[in-house]
Amino acid sequence: MLEVDQLLSKKVADRYLKKEVLGEGTYGVVYKAIDTQTGQTVAIKKIRIGQYKEGVNFTALREIKLLKELKDPNIILLIDAFPHKNNLHLVFEFMESDLEAVIRDRNIVLSPADVKSYLQMTLKGLAYCHKKWVLHRDMKPNNLLIGVDGQLKLADFGLARIFGSPDRRFTHQVFARWYRAPELLFGTKQYGSGVDVWAAACIFAELLLRRPFLQGSSDIDQLGKIFAAFGTPKPAQWPDMVYLPDYVEYQFVPAPPLRSLFPMASDDTLDLLSRMFTYDPRQRISVQQALEHRYFSSVPAPTKPALLPRPPRKGDSLTSRPPDLNVQEGPTVLSPPRKSRRVMPQREKVEGDAHQADRVDDHFIDVRQTTGGNTGKSETMPMSIDFSVFGSRPPPRPTLNSADRSHLKRKLDLEFFPPE
């Protein structure tokens, strides 16, 4: 068996046996590999170099720089880095799934204790970053990876930055839109750890609702969605708001009771949510304070990571499981059997595992097509309705695609250092 394995897989450097491709990362292909020294399964990000004659990708370099400093159980571990055939390879611990796959999997029931556990691990990872003065700036469920042992880890530090220098101005074009804090949407250039807290609050809400909470279709619409949920902020609530660069006045809408948006949530849950969703970043709860909130000390206790429900692994879902025709779960089970986050629809055959990979792709394209038409419909639905009842899906979530990225990269380069 081992020999066959070795024939099928290519050796990278001396140490790693390359297996199937896991997907397309933000700046290169990610594939599975075996570390022959430890027998450990790892994920290797191959970073293309020299494409734009600017050497090691700026985003990749940022990720390397920060991950070399960040070592925490709730942060993805960068095991190794090495050059091979003019490409830089980053070796990460292998992660089985991600939080988006969990949230989207209709077969998974998340109890309040499960939600608490996932949120706690998210905040712990974030607290460690903030303690080290690192802003993540791209918090969203598919950047929260889940390991074989159930541990959740923050990944994708390509947008992360060291902060804490006063007056250093940053770009506001960070985060996928649905997770962007109101101060960013109003164009602030000076912000702090509060932006990550807002995004974590969106993830918290998404865990409760099982769909993205505030699905704006543009930046303006995003603010509209935020204000519809929490009421248009009054200057007394957020004094600095009117001075923000892109501030525009919105028609006043009163806040509906938070309870109406999260009918099943406990009082502690709602209290923590409202503190994390505070408009004024100065008054927003910090990650550390959030971890000390009574939500985490009250019953139910957070589920142990190893016992958390997780989506089935690729092999299970595609081969061994009998077709599941449970009507309650909707006519089709569309959650991708494997990490959908990195798997882009790709038509080329993937070496080693071509047959399975093709099936995954078709599956994934299906998901995208069926979701396309539902965008309008979902917005008119009450927020607490479970989409699975209708067998429809929430609209596909916006991510930073490569065009955005390169635009962003240029912007980041330009805006970080205004003339001094």
């Binding site: 004659k53 050497g55 720089k65 880095a81 303690k131």
Partner: protein
Amino acid sequence: MAANFWASSHYKQLLEQEEVDVVHSPDKEKGFTLEDFKLIKMQMSNYIAKLAQYVKVRQRVVATAITYMRRVYTRKSMTEYEPHLVAPTCLYLASKAEESTVQARLLVFYIKKQYNDEKYRYEIKDILEMEMKVLEALNYYLVVYHPYRPLSQLLQDAGMTELTQLSWGLLNDTYKMDVILIYPPYMIALACIYIASVLKEKDTTAWFEELRADMNVVKNISMELLDFYDSQKVTADERIGAALHKLALKP
């Protein structure tokens, strides 16, 4: 950067003087002495600073680039890692790591402007190739702490902001030596304040006492810096030329 130095890779990587002062065997075989080694590192620090002026980056980037270059030579020989290529590559890498990217194209333009000599003129592809090797030599550790921020904070605390200019200049000069690889940044800052206060005849005894910093270390760094200035009185150009000549010898 306001991050925590004591938890950083920089702190864990601090070396002893003896570990820094190692001439690697390929260089030794050419008759390279420790003195030669130090002179070339100084010369390359100056070269980085010069290039940085042309491409207009902040002092922080210069300091990081010099630190990278000095870290590379704690592990690699100058014979294998040509200093005239390593220096601009470190500047290039530091500009990216410090979030103020300089285009390789621009850097190459100024390198050519600096050197008429064919053998020190490099192309973009040389820099990019060396970038990967430098990254590897640095073991991918890119975060560096500098004494600049502690310096201004300490001066403010001491109420001696009038010493800023002098101590800042002293601090810039510390990068012509290896102190950044050996001492915590705030100690280096304290040494600069110490020298500046002695020169300007300010009494800082009480303030230093209150800080409870290890004055032996502060004084050691100060002495090193003063020794360095002494050695610079003898014109260095000739000696640098001789050292570079040795390096150019074919093994």
